[in-house]
């Protein structure tokens, strides 16, 4: 059954947030735009300890890091980032399930916020995401000076229950209850029909040369999900060690480095991997683009090389002009 829509005045939003904060930590706000860092760090921290080992006589005791399952709320998540969390779920909650990710994800309550305008670098609409209809446990929006609140999951209903005395139930009245949809001002992603064959396109030879392989795009991207694992000696003779995992980037030379060498030997292959993964491989496996059009990479690439530009160049008929 569809949950009822609730409202409150804008002045009372702080009260709502405070009420939730009495129960669990609240991160974020209903601010004017998406955050610089994506929310992925709440589920997949930049650096985390996986387990510790201790040598006891002739054997080793392995102690996994305790699961982080204390509930928390993420507030004001935008449609792009909510879609990104679903993409991460597809990877981390499917076999093999990642226990750390799962604990944090299950402990989280996602309260999304509809966008009424598009940021200059946003292009969620080009990847079929409606900025006015974010997913999440609760969707919130503002219309005509009123704050709207709609639970979209069981978890969302549990949050709503905390707030019943602060919210007013509204009888559905068609469009009056829907968020304002922003005009589609997004740049198109004019992808070639046969993206898989783009793998061999000669444009990569030149395109990758501008990229400085810094990994900023991957670290800021809400769906970039790769990590590296390393072991650290805490005492001599491996009496105590611990193991961490940390964000990695396909742009880095050590990525997929194996004993026999690296299947992506130069920056060209690594650079290509980022875009092929986003636009092709993920599409093949999960049916959606792994780019949610948040535009973070567009905004922060030190050399203005980004997925929109790559798509444009790939789609260009006269691709050889660049080669």
């Amino acid at each position: 059954m569809q949950s009822p829509v609730y409202t409150c005045s804008l002045d009372n939003v702080t009260q709502l947030i405070n009420r939730i904060a009495e129960k669990m930590p609240v991160y974020g706000d209903f601010g004017s735009s998406k955050t610089t860092l994506s929310p992925k760090g709440f589920f997949l921290p930049a650096l985390e300890k996986l387990y510790e080992t201790a040598k006891i006589n002739d054997s080793y005791k392995i102690t996994p890091a305790p699961p982080e399952n204390a509930p928390f709320v993420l507030l004001g998540i935008r449609a792009c980032d909510a879609a990104a969390i679903e993409i991460l779920d597809g990877v981390y909650l499917n076999d093999p399930i990642d226990p750390q990710y799962k604990a944090r994800r299950h402990a989280s309550y996602i309260v999304t916020f509809a966008c009424e305008t598009m940021g200059a670098n946003c292009f969620c609409q080009s990847v079929n995401i409606n900025p006015a209809a974010p997913k999440g446990d609760v969707k919130a929006w503002v219309k005509n000076g009123t704050f709207f609140w709609l639970a979209q999951s069981e978890k969302g209903e549990r949050l709503t229950e905390l707030l019943l005395d602060l919210l007013e139930r509204t009888i559905p009245a068609g469009n009056d209850l829907l968020p304002v949809e922003p005009p589609d001002s997004a740049p198109a992603l004019p992808l070639p029909a046969d993206m898989l064959s783009a793998f061999n396109a000669p444009v990569w030879d030149n395109l990758h040369r501008a990229c400085i392989a810094c990994g900023t795009c991957t670290f800021l991207c809400p769906t970039c999900q790769c990590y590296d694992i390393s072991s650290h000696e805490c005492t001599e003779n491996s009496e105590k060690t611990h193991c961490t995992r940390q964000w990695d980037a396909c742009l880095y030379p050590g990525f997929t480095q194996m004993a026999h060498g690296n299947p992506r030997p130069s920056k060209k292959e690594r650079f290509r991997q980022r875009f092929m993964h986003k636009l092709v491989y993920h599409m093949q496996k999960y049916g959606t683009s792994a780019c949610v059009g948040c535009g973070r990479c567009v905004n922060k690439c030190p050399v203005n090389m980004n997925i929109v530009k790559v798509a444009h160049v790939l789609a260009q008929e006269e691709v050889n002009a660049y080669v």
Partner: protein, 249 residues
Amino acid sequence: MNEQEKMRTRAKELHAAGIIKQVLAWEAGAFPSYPAPAFFTKPNAFEKIVYNEFCTANLSKYVINITEKTLIFLRPCDAHSFAQLVKENQVKRENTYVIAVGCEGCVQVDEGEARDLLESCRTCTKTDYPLFDEEINTQNNPRESTNKAARFAEVTRLDSEENTARYAFWQAHFSQCIRCNACRNICPTCHCKECVMDSDHPLDGQFYHAIRALHQDGRCTDCGQCSRVCPRGIPVHLLNRKLIYTSNK
């Protein structure tokens, strides 16, 4: 004729004369205010060369290890970085053809909006080009910098603070570091084949920046690119500016 037209013309002429094989310049991006560095090898692509206040990425670092004669356009900050790379044997001077190009400073773009002049431009004191083969529109550059006081203002302000306040300032910044490698990889004098930061033992931000600052000591050209590219707004360049300030004294 503005710089951009002259740059395109000279690229065509030098290529036609067989003096250069490729051009390193900027090309328009998917968004108007986002030009990107690019190598151009075909003369019909030279029309795509752009030059404006949004060309924030310096080009000098891209010449490391080039083997073909390359035309490169350098602004004063970039020309100093280029000279440093030549000095450090990272590029053969004879593989380059340098055109010094006039500069009125670059603009920081955030979320598609043009903000102020870059901090590095507001405090830039470079007026000369250490190495070049010819010049385009350099006559408008200031002969004498008016930024000499501004350059070290933030360094001396921090110096005047208590140790604890200074430490708190840097800690607040370094705790924001996400350990991407933007500052290292844009830096013209960061060019080690293997970097200690790439070991699989992750270093925290504070340690990372301390090592980097010391390693660039005496080589940093104060181009300000590290701070420009930091996605977390850390004033990375101030560390090396402090070292420059101290050794100048």
